[in-house]
Symmetry: C2
Amino acid sequence: MWIQTEVTRQLNIKYPIIQAPMAGSTTPELVAAVSNGGGLGSIGAGYYNPEKFRTDIAKTQTLTDKPFAVNLFVPEYNEVTSTQIDRMKEILTPYYEEFNIEPDMPTIDKDDTFGQLVKIVIDTNVKICSFTFGIPDPVTVEKLKEAGVILIGCATTVEEAVLNEQAGMDMVVVQGFEAGGHRGSFAQKTLQSTIGTMALVPQAADAVAIPVIAAGGIMDGRGVYASLTLGAGAAQLGTAFLTTKESKAPEIHKEKILNSTEMDTVLTKSFSGKYARGIRNRFIDDMEHHQEDILAYPFQNQITKKIRSKVAAEGRNDLLHLWSGQGVKMSRDTEAKELLKDIVDQVNKISGNEAYHR
Amino acid sequence: MWIQTEVTRQLNIKYPIIQAPMAGSTTPELVAAVSNGGGLGSIGAGYYNPEKFRTDIAKTQTLTDKPFAVNLFVPEYNEVTSTQIDRMKEILTPYYEEFNIEPDMPTIDKDDTFGQLVKIVIDTNVKICSFTFGIPDPVTVEKLKEAGVILIGCATTVEEAVLNEQAGMDMVVVQGFEAGGHRGSFAQKTLQSTIGTMALVPQAADAVAIPVIAAGGIMDGRGVYASLTLGAGAAQLGTAFLTTKESKAPEIHKEKILNSTEMDTVLTKSFSGKYARGIRNRFIDDMEHHQEDILAYPFQNQITKKIRSKVAAEGRNDLLHLWSGQGVKMSRDTEAKELLKDIVDQVNKISGNEAYHR
């Protein structure tokens, strides 16, 4: 008999363990491995176009008949002037020259990609959809609910958790300071909204009636069980799954995580215009002098994208977004199935045996 | 039968729960209430002179025959020029004028107060001594060990935990990002060394053989049991005990904590010259424009001290150091004995009953 929570019951999964939807790094193989193992895999579709989204969902559905989630980025409408774009292009010129590439021009999504992806969720009969960077509009929420899709929001503060509940999310991921990759902040986007997981989870659990899913710094069975103890109905792990064989993060990214310490990550807006946690490298250092010129999301993300693709293709990590949480020393080079099994075994050991405690 | 750990065994206490040594806010009544209740109380003697230290120890010993700890600040030798002092006095002039007071002049401790306090620990037969802001010199360590005193260090990174172990500390508090009051950093003092408790505890526990004590964002039984789950041998709670009746923090400080949210605290060097977490107020905001002029610890602490005493005496909190961790919404206005009992009851409930999990 395993630990049943409101989350495992609603999602119809065996273990309260969720593989975080790391946009750009998940594969159908990773998602299916986690779901087949009894957890919940998530397709990180944040940057997907409709075609790629359909392909990944179809592939995942051939690999598993268990529930899995898809994650979408809620679009936001920031403004950017051509003067600001020109300034950032100037700052990035040394990199463009280094790789002999033309700058990407930031563009505005006029195709309602988000709306198209939502339609695909419904059409393909995906039953769990999580969101990052905000709460979808009421019409979208209603449409998905009518189709029987369970909705999972993301919050980095208690207030954001409450906003998710009020908007009708069925559950909410609360993402602590330790978390790798983008912060899901939307109501509070400053660094003041960085609350450690240990403090955030119980305060959020006290404030909302919907189940809370803990995220940030959780890497193994100790973190999973601690999350449940703090009042969460499940734990969501990103970095731990990023270094698995099935993740499509570049090898240089995985290697860097596997060889770093807990002090090597920083929060930076330099890659995308939004705060995200990654391992400090040359690009982050270089851009520290240009913080006031960073374009708003998603424009900064677009304008740095080609440089990052190019440097990754060349096997270099100095200009790459090396997203990682603070639990790096617990990262492992293994298969997702194996990682999940070890986490489950460790939780069994902890929950069944008090002598485990030091 | 309660959860026994290496910490409870070595310290000869019933519960793996430690009241953090909040310098300036502990009283013999608070320390004794926690120790009598089965936890470990700690006298925060960081700013004490020998006389005050002797008095507090003697009083505590009349109130409890259970073990308690004393906490000392390891002295450090920073430099400050008279030009720097004059500049800071100029910045603080509006406050001096507001209260019609003369500036405090920063001074260097020439009396080896630390050495005197160490001698008192031995003379008064105190059996547990914890340290903040560094590791004492080898001669002091040896002297205390010969007297049978158990030594507890403090670390904010895995590396600092290892340094504590190498220096002969018997156990080490690992203090996460969420923690209120001063950060115990010594080897890494930048904001880059801020690691969330959820990530820090297991990584430190993996790196050292001595027992680890979790601190930072822990406010109730959920946090205590989560700490044990993460690999700690005990949990240390500061803010939770700061608002108890027995704490001597000013009422305006307690009230502010009781009425704040998890987003209201920030890390600031403005009061003391060292990073500490407190609730944002006028002084922190004002001093944001003068960060490059903040004096090194302990000089900044000395030069702002009179202003803080004065404002507290007048029942105002706008210029006071409102130390607090990020778990504020879980703070309670109660007696220490009651708080400890509730924490113990909550741990019993969690550890004995899986249905507790949401």
